[in-house]
Amino acid sequence: MTRDQISYVIFFAAIVATGLILKNYFYFQLITIIGINTLLALALNMLLGYAGQISLGHAAFYGIGAYTSGILTATYGFNPWMALPCALMLAIVIAVVVGFPTLKLTGYYLGMGTLGFGMIVHIVFREWSSVTGGASGFMGIPPLEIGHVSFFEPRNYFFLVWFVVLLSFILCKRLINSRTGRALKAIHDSENAAKAVGINTRNLKLKIFVFSAALSALAGFLYAHMISFISPESFSFLVSVKIVTMVVIGGMASIWGSLLGASLLTMLPEWLHAFSDFEMVVYGLILMVVMIITPQGLTRGIIEIYERSRSAKAKR
């Protein structure tokens, strides 16, 4: 077995063990949310961490997935499993339309372009009341079912989400360790040199943007059918920034970093309730300290500390 395969098996075992041991429904819900956030962080990491293209509007695709599936099922009575491909398709089409002109931009300008896109989508969610329910949110999204298994049960939903996470990890890892993955990293390192080895950078950037958008929409679908109620604020600019933070804190260009970043940023607010009024201050401080100590993200930081301690031992 390769190292990757071993890590998948461990991951799988951890999911099963957590699912069987845990009793408290509140924790199930929290960990399921971590899973959904991990998908989001993974989606953005493919774009930002590997291909080096920033998006400050990724919550828009998350929201498009959630709202499309929510509206199709609750308003039009679609089966959720029929609504999923529709939601993904819509996200893909919008990603192509938005990505084609914006991905010409680089650096700050790409950030501004995607930021604008995210804000427009957020405003549509909020103001198109007749369809989206407006600022007060959209209710009555049905839970998922497969045959007789209802995912209304938090334990089942936990398993569903985390197996989707595991599957996405495997797919992304395969993608990265391939011709396409190397080309993505090449664009990140030097776009000029990437062109000079024959990579159609424009085309490939669009492809990974679309892939990333579709994965975010999948996360939105899972979110909508778990919570059954969605509101525009779950897909605002702040959420886009939070996804970027997860990627940066966890570690750019690191699959496992997405898991780490999403876990930390989802758990922190829960732990910090004790600080009540100072919650956000402490939250910000912790993020600052993490970035100062491990500027390359938690994953690299942990690996470096481990290696340093090992070489220190070897010297003794």
């Binding site: 797919l171 395969r174 993608l175 360790n177 391939s178 011709r179 396409t180 993955g181 190397r182 080309a183 990293k185 090449a186 990140h188 390192d189 030097s190 000029n192 040199a193 990437a194 062109k195 000079a196 080895v197 024959g198 990579i199 159609n200 950078t201 492809k207 892939f211 260009a253």
Partner: protein
């Protein structure tokens, strides 16, 4: 009509014989500055051609025209009997034009081997779905990519460094790596932008040997170079540019004895 065109092509091929790249009265201006003015020369297949000239002579501009970064204002560039005007940079690599950069642009976050693996992009096919599904032919291709990379690295002489992170290599080796990466695309012509810049005398001599070895493999080379000793030693023919115009063309010996070239370089009155 089709037949006529075909016969014309045939004729042209015969005429051109072994001319791989044809620069035909190419001009390029930036704002008010005429960087190139009606420059013409041919690149015969299998030769090493040097492109020299004082700073601002238009060497880099010409280089960028051939590699598709700029479009000429006037004139044509014919590669392998195709007009390559307006082609995208990545498209030209597909046709067989590879290049290296003056300031060495390697993929720093990747290992040495991975750099050469990326270099094979245009001659490999597997895409998104192939990567995700890992079908057998894709796995085979992946193995081939690795084997080719190792072969090219040992051709260049840096196979021992395969697993090192490329940004940690000394500059001289990075330059060799960049050449290896360019070779990985199986080019017909390799364009080198000042390959000896930043190298010491020993490294320059090794580079010269490597370039000769590449020529023996049947690859045509065009190099822009400042280092006269290297140019004179390895080039079969040399083109001299001065202030955007072609000043002279000939064998290294002819160039060395050309009065106007001496004037341009050393500022001696004619």
């Amino acid at each position: 009509m089709e037949l006529l065109k075909f016969m014309n092509d045939q004729d042209q091929q015969k005429q051109n014989g072994n001319i791989l790249l044809k620069i035909e009265s190419v001009s390029k201006a930036f704002g008010g500055v005429q960087a190139l003015w009606e420059v013409s020369f041919d690149l015969q297949a299998g030769l090493i051609k040097g492109l020299i000239g004082p700073n601002g002579a238009g060497k880099t501009t010409l280089f960028n025209l051939v590699t598709g970064i700029f479009r000429p204002d006037n004139g044509q560039i014919i590669f392998d009997n195709q007009n390559i005007q307006g082609r995208q940079v990545h498209d030209l690599v597909n046709l067989g034009i590879a290049r290296t950069f003056q300031n060495v642009e390697i993929f720093g976050s990747m290992s040495v081997a991975e750099n050469v693996m990326v270099g094979q992009h245009v001659r490999t096919r597997s895409g998104f779905w192939g990567a995700i599904t890992r079908v057998p032919w894709m796995v085979r291709e992946e193995n081939n990519i690795w084997n080719n990379a190792m072969e090219i690295l040992s051709f260049v002489g840096i196979e021992d460094l395969a697993h090192r992170k490329s940004s940690e290599l000394p500059f001289g080796w990075q330059r060799l790596l960049e050449i290896a990466r360019a070779l990985a695309s199986n080019p017909k012509v390799l364009l080198l932008d000042e390959p000896a810049a930043g190298l010491n005398a020993t490294e320059t001599r090794q580079l010269g040997k490597l370039l000769k070895k590449i020529q023996k493999k049947g690859i045509t080379l065009l190099l822009v170079e400042h280092d006269m000793s290297l140019t004179m030693e390895i080039c079969d023919r040399i083109v001299v540019l001065d202030q955007g115009k072609k000043l002279a063309e000939g064998t290294p010996r002819e160039i060395q004895n050309n009065a106007s070239v001496m004037a341009a370089y050393l500022g001696m009155g004619t």
